[in-house]
């Protein structure tokens, strides 16, 4: 933990719920990037967390913008900085939730990445529309209860798996994409610092537990992050110019079954054993595929280059 900068750019007085993973996410990100950073935020929890006018708890310039515009807002800010010849090394960050990234914001994100905008696009993933009250998003995991996937008598929990934003970004030939987890702040900060050193579009997928929406205890958010890591539900990896690198993985004897990750979360309480088994199978398959992609891209694919 010695590498975590002491300087705080997120001050006290935020409006986040107790145990909010997204609050940790912003704090660590700004520690990593420092004051030479602009942040644009669409409709999401973080549109409310900085405070209500005239209060603001972030010491960086902040542009609030419409739900579906995070990617292009970064393009616009970068274009203005370039036009004005401001040569200070400024990080232009788009900071959106999973809905603002994977659903309504995916078009503007895709455009910004395709255009090669020099920006860090962040998805802080609390796995549903939490600011509006826990409605399912494309990033809600399979099996989860939300207010729009209520269980009811018809077992109407979410049946579809989570949209894989890392692969979508990789398909754009993005120079750098990484997953980070608020339970591992040193690695979280390291990856943001690495992203800041790379020119062009970068994408960071943050695992950000939401105790309110996940029906979990607010004092268990960090533990949930650890369980997500150990169960391989949320693998920690990066993709640099097409090369996959699982930068931290649980040791064989550390690995826990997915059900231990699901258990502390009320949103999965209704799941029958068969469904839990299916989720376990999907997690295993994803992990296996990820490790193969790592091996293939590291050892075979680009060897002759």
């Amino acid at each position: 933990m010695a590498n975590i900068p002491e300087k705080e750019l997120m001050n006290s007085g935020h409006n986040a719920c107790p145990g909010c993973g997204a609050a940790h996410a912003m704090r660590y990100m700004l520690k990593a990037l420092g004051k030479n950073t602009t942040v644009n935020i669409p409709a999401c929890c973080w549109a409310v967390i900085p405070g209500v006018y005239p209060s603001r708890n972030l010491d960086v310039p902040l542009l609030y913008t419409a739900f579906e515009t995070t990617g292009v807002s970064s393009s616009g800010i970068r274009a203005a900085l370039d036009a004005k010849g401001i040569d200070a090394d400024i990080n232009v960050v788009g900071f959106a939730g999973d809905g603002g990234t994977a659903d309504i914001g995916i078009q503007a994100l895709s455009g910004a990445v395709e255009r090669g905008t020099d920006t860090i696009q962040v998805m802080y993933d609390n796995e549903a529309y939490m600011n509006t009250g826990i409605q399912r998003s494309g990033s809600t995991p399979q099996g989860a209860w939300t207010t729009t996937t209520p269980v009811g008598s018809e077992k109407a929990w979410k049946k579809q798996p989570k949209k894989d934003m890392m692969e979508i970004m990789e398909s754009h030939n993005i120079p750098y994409a990484a997953t980070v987890n608020i339970a591992y702040p040193d690695l979280f900060i390291e990856k943001f610092k690495k992203a800041a050193e790379i020119r062009g579009p970068k994408f960071i997928h943050i695992y950000a537990p939401c105790p309110t929406g996940w029906r979990a205890k607010p004092n268990k958010s960090i533990e949930l992050g650890e369980l997500a890591f150990k169960s391989r539900v949320f693998p920690l990896y990066e993709i640099e110019h097409g090369v996959y690198n699982v930068y931290k993985e649980p040791k064989e004897d550390e690995v826990i079954p997915v059900k231990e990750y699901l258990k502390p979360q009320g949103r999965f309480r209704h799941l029958p054993k068969e469904e839990v088994d299916m989720i376990q199978k999907n997690v295993d398959r994803y992990w296996k595929r990820l490790k193969k992609k790592e091996k293939f891209t590291k050892e075979e694919l680009y060897q002759e280059d």
Partner: protein, 397 residues
């Protein structure tokens, strides 16, 4: 030295953005606006325009990109049309409420379905309440002039609102006319560079657009309306300065054409005004006491000027190239509202040229003669749709 070129309204828009030294252009192509964005791309590719050109993936993003760039302190420009403008709707409100002096060309085009790419004002008129200044242009020179004027008006610290330059599809956008492309130095003198005090700035971090409680929101809205009201005086002031600098009067809020002491007044908007003026001349030569007023700014709406113009007029004929379903043409509705409690001439609204339907001098003459007749007979209908297929005989016979 200034030079005269024979250019389309769209090229005139592109030259306007170039002369205004727009620093960021964020745009998406749509018929019939495409040659604006193509020409700007060509200027940039040839090193004739120093701008960051963000080639976005939708009109919604075009406006969002302008908003972000403008908040970061850049002079921004974009152009769109019809469905593109409608897609921007959310961000048009955002731009105005964020008090950003973005300037945009909208090439007026009909909304589908059925698909139509031809002139119709409904796209622009549907956005009249968003907080944008709207300048309806009569010709290609005015398109260029209005862009230069709009930046100067919109960037004024007392105004800080976005401005929309409106040119009719094909009739202006694709028709070549002689346009004076002014000397860059002269434009620079008229329109200095944009450098707002308040912007996204890492040395002076601020938040733009945060959540406000009901005890603030309404007051911000009133500030916007005060700026819109103030824009009336500012438009007149800048119009005068423009005329002094470039020797041309773009028309202020409302252009008066032979209105002194007339009994009958017709009110038009956009490209039909030129032809209409010729018809007015013809009718005056025939002894009719008729004049024309061209409504140039729908926003801010020049209600005082309308009242003044109609003080001693018996009949007003208002031509709308759009229709607000369930009511009437919007120009007519707003003009009538301005008249209430002041003057009470007979008012008739003519719905004309929707979806690019041609308005010939012959049809315009029939309309104006109909207006003249209302001096001596009862108003037959408040709103009349002109030259529908079922009554071609009446209008083309």
């Amino acid at each position: 030295m200034s030079e005269h070129k024979i250019v389309t309204g769209n090229y005139s828009s592109a030259y306007g953005a170039r002369l205004a030294r727009a620093e960021v252009v964020s745009a998406y192509p749509i018929t019939p606006q495409t040659s604006v964005v193509e020409k700007i791309a060509e200027f940039v590719a040839d090193g004739k325009m120093d701008t960051e050109y963000v080639k976005v993936e939708s009109e919604h993003s075009a406006m969002a990109g302008c908003i972000a760039a403008s908040t970061a302190g850049a002079r921004t420009y974009t152009a769109t049309s019809a469905h593109g403008l409608a897609l921007m709707h959310e961000m048009l409100m955002w731009a105005a409420r964020a008090r950003l002096p973005i300037v945009m060309t909208n090439v007026n085009r009909a909304m589908g379905p059925p698909w139509s790419v031809w002139a119709d004002h409904l796209d622009t008129i549907a956005q009249k309440g968003t907080g944008w200044l709207q300048f309806f242009c009569e010709n290609n020179q005015e398109v260029l002039d209005s862009i230069l004027m709009a930046y100067k008006i919109c960037e004024d610290e007392d105004i800080m609102l976005p401005g929309m330059i409106v040119e009719d599809a094909f009739i202006l956008s694709h028709t070549r006319e002689p346009v004076e492309i002014y000397d860059q130095e002269k434009v620079d003198e008229f329109l200095p560079s944009y450098d707002p005090d308040v912007k996204l700035d890492i040395e002076n971090p601020a938040g733009f657009g945060s959540l406000v409680m009901p005890d603030w929101y309404m007051d911000f809205a009133k500030k916007l309306e005060e700026a819109m009201e103030g824009a009336k005086g500012k438009i007149k002031e800048v119009n005068k300065e423009f005329e002094e600098t470039f020797g041309r009067d773009p028309g202020g809020l409302i252009e008066e054409y032979k209105t002194d002491g007339v009994d009958v007044l017709v009110i038009t908007m956009g490209s039909i005004s030129g032809t209409s003026k010729d018809v007015i001349d013809e009718l005056r030569d025939e002894g009719h006491n008729i004049g024309l007023a061209r409504l140039r700014t729908l926003r801010p709406f020049p209600k005082e000027e309308i009242r003044e113009l109609t003080k001693n007029v018996n009949v007003v004929g208002i031509l709308d190239r759009s229709y607000s379903f369930g009511a009437a043409g919007d120009a007519a509705r707003e003009i009538k509202e301005a008249l209430y409690g002041h003057n009470s001439p007979i008012v008739k609204n003519y719905i004309v040229g929707l979806g690019g339907r041609d308005l010939t001098p012959e049809i315009l003459k029939k309309i104006f003669l109909d207006t003249l007749e209302l001096q001596d007979k009862e108003l037959d209908q408040e709103v009349e749709w002109v030259d529908l297929r079922i009554d071609r005989k009446k209008w083309r016979g």
